[in-house]
Symmetry: C2
Subunit: 312 residues, 2 copies
């Protein structure tokens, strides 16, 4: 008999969705409380849950064979000192369209000056505002995992030119050209919009700092939908204040929630959202869990296995 612990803010929803699947050799319990979970996890060989909650109970989870994360980002489970004697799988292949929604919405909100339009409307002021043809816009995507590739293909449907950057510079059919991380400076000269879709790892730490921001076009907009560690936030505040870059759209931050006294909230041309560019809809995550459970029972390789060293 396999025993699952569900530990998530959406525990009840997951419980209902997984019960419907009527899995074989299977029992489960669900909670959103860490204390309760600590008592329960010792008797479970599988866990499904939100990484920050799971990280608090790992020490008690001696019988754990497999953990399915409800999130894409699993940095809290890859921290040094935490156990790694189980298989960790994350949520992948489902956030691309959501991130594309977010990036395209804010990209065109900038291009078409949607917030200025709104102010004109409130003043009953009929005033066309110019915008560029999409083919004159270059989007640069840092990180060409499934999210970065989906975004690239979506942007291209609008006629936008797309270049990308990944660790090795290995070409991808999704973009016109791929730069390697060693070519970051050369890459950053080109885009009108730079989008970060990176996981939080030691390698991505503060990749974007003052020297890199200076290389970007003065009109360029930096969009972060990955993790907050990728940007040196103090350097970004300076760059935005001094007009080194044109704007930013930030969904993730060095510390979340973003502190009320952060300079970022009120800077001109900065748009802040509370880590909601993509959310884990339980129906999507449950489908991944159920497919992986069938593989687990059949002792087949699981989908979306995380490399603890790489952190994704």
């Amino acid at each position: 008999m396999n025993k699952l612990l569900i530990l998530s803010a959406d525990a009840e929803t997951y419980y209902g969705l997984i019960r419907e699947a009527d899995l074989q050799q299977f029992e489960m319990t669900a909670t959103s409380d860490i204390g309760t979970a600590r008592d329960l996890v010792a008797g479970c060989n599988i866990a499904l849950g939100d990484p920050p909650l799971l990280s608090e109970v790992l020490a008690s989870a001696d019988g754990l064979e497999w953990v399915q994360s409800t999130w894409a980002g699993v940095e809290q489970l890859c921290r040094p000192g935490l156990r790694r004697d189980y298989v960790l799988t994350n949520a992948k292949g489902i956030f691309g369209p959501q991130i594309s929604e977010y990036v395209m919405t804010y990209l065109f909100a900038f291009e078409r000056r949607v917030f200025n339009m709104r102010i004109n409307q409130l003043n009953q002021h009929w005033q066309p505002l110019a915008y560029r043809p999409a083919k004159e816009i270059t989007l640069g995507i840092i990180g060409l995992g499934s999210i970065g590739r989906d975004l690239a293909l979506t942007a291209r449907r609008f006629g936008i030119r797309v270049i990308g950057l990944n660790r090795s510079g290995k070409p991808s059919e999704a973009v016109e050209k791929v730069y390697s991380v060693d070519q970051l400076a050369e890459f950053l000269e080109k885009p009108d919009y730079v989008v970060l879709t990176l996981p939080a790892t030691p390698q991505t730490n503060r990749l974007i700092h003052a020297d890199m921001l200076k290389i970007m076009k003065p009109s360029a907009v930096l969009i972060n939908v990955g993790r907050g560690n990728s940007i040196n936030e103090a350097d970004l505040v300076c760059a935005l204040r001094e007009g080194i870059i044109g704007g930013a759209v930030l969904d993730v931050f060095e510390k979340e929630p973003l502190a009320r006294d952060s300079q970022l909230w009120k800077l001109a041309n900065v748009f802040i959202t509370p880590h909601t560019s993509a959310i884990s809809f339980p129906a999507d995550i449950s489908s991944i869990f159920i497919e992986n459970y069938h593989r687990f029972v059949r002792r087949e390789p699981l989908m979306h296995v995380v490399d603890f060293e790489l952190g994704y």
Copy 2:
């Protein structure tokens, strides 16, 4: 020798772009002034221009063989009483991606409550706001010309379900199901967003009126990127005030510019833009003109010929 008159707000830009093509058997003049154009047009067999300006000089244009419109909408040139003894071609196949930009931007601005997010930001308030998965959103497109089809394919990339309506109900691969204009009421029950991409013709006049608005979902948002005649504006104001529908995004109006005393400007959940959802970039229009000119010289059928009776 062919003689072209350019009559457009962008006359000088068009002049420069077409001169670069170095066309054979060709002379041209360019103006943005109607009076000057009236004197010049008599000696020209071709005109390229903006429909409202061209409509003012047609009476003097006895030698005209072909007119290339810089716009998609040519209702001003199809009015009863105006000459029709020439071939009229319009701008087509270039506005789809621009309209898709506009519609997707405002659709997701509604879904993701981008303007509420902005207010939260200005209050330094970290507050996730829920949104629906794209696959739970139905987009209904009225008008499945090249613009409607491009929009359908773009929306589907995000996972949105798309249905359409055209005159005959003839199926289209771009959408899941096509309704005929006789099935308008049945169609209007289904979408979360209804987009109008219709030309101004007697058949499209006030297609959307009080009875049709009542059929729509109370949460539905009406988006008009076609022509203002398609909507009974007084009925729309009532429907928005009384919560019969959830909102509107309006780029076109019965009279433009929208009057300062229109009720629409300040209604909650209404977004007004000044007929800029798609604009004629002269580089795109010039390419159509130049290709059509080569066909004209070779006496081949022109692209995008307008049927004066249909009005598109």
